[in-house]
Amino acid sequence: MNTYTPKSAGSPGPTEETLDIRDLGFWIYLMTDAIIFSLLFATYVVMFQNTATGPVPSDVFDLEHVFAETMFLLLSSVTFGFASLASIREQKGHAICWLLVTIVFGLGFIYLEVAEFIGMIQSGAGPQTSGFLSAFFTLVGTHGAHVSLGMVGITVMIFQILIKGLTSPVKSRLHRLGMFWHFLDIVWIGIFSIVYMPGWLI
């Protein structure tokens, strides 16, 4: 007869092997996300000349704005790296501080992106204007939605560290969220290299 034994506080929790499998599973999710983004990039490249009577890329892209967004995202990636490092070294306070810094940079990025979108929509360059703008808003908006979700994740992790402490499951979740965050920075490299810079040159 099986008897259910509730997990006590002293139970070992998931084994190292289980956590490695979760790590791999999350990695496979990231690869599927990479496929989604690469197809949105392909759509953009196919569509960017279809400006109808609306604005062309160089009318609506502001390079200084994009540079600021790039810096925010790169800095947030590094500060998340420091948060992961602090969690491995069992420095609870440091980990939370670095996560808060990461959120600040992430919010800076989202603020700039939303400001850009609102400015474009108000000047008549909304997603319904042309194929180019539909593809642009879909691609960059999907990335922005990922970053926003990532920040929700960071907030949850801050509370988990505060309430549960740096237990092995919490550290492994933080590690996977870090993978997600670094991955988004890689997608952003594609966005400024394929969307903004060529748009400014052509």
Binding site: I28, M31, S38, A42, V45, F67, I88, D185
Partner: protein
């Protein structure tokens, strides 16, 4: 998850490399110091190298990374090559023919 893949030195190195690889294309586009074709080459090269820098320094993909992870990257790479390459091939071929 071990301290080997995460170290402050590695993070700082990755950050400085990523910063340089970001500044080069932005400077090239800003100054327009070269012909447009050359600038496109600079952007593409810096982007590819920077993706490698991020994978190596931030995501810990190195020679000691689990084989399954590297295989997943390769498989995703093949799928992306087929789907993106196929899309661009078909759509630009169609575009040429419609001209």
């Amino acid at each position: 998850m071990d301290a080997q893949t995460h170290s402050a030195k590695k993070l700082i190195t990755g950050f400085i490399l990523a910063l340089i690889l970001t500044l080069i294309p932005f400077a090239a586009v800003w100054t327009m110091a070269f012909p447009v074709g050359v600038i496109f080459g600079i952007i593409a090269l810096c982007a590819v190298v920077q993706v490698g820098v991020h994978l190596y320094y931030f995501l810990g993909i190195n020679s000691k990374a689990p084989t399954e992870k590297v295989l997943a990257i390769c498989f995703a790479g093949i799928l992306i090559f087929l789907m993106v390459g196929g899309t661009l091939w078909i759509m630009f071929d169609l575009y040429e023919r419609m001209m």
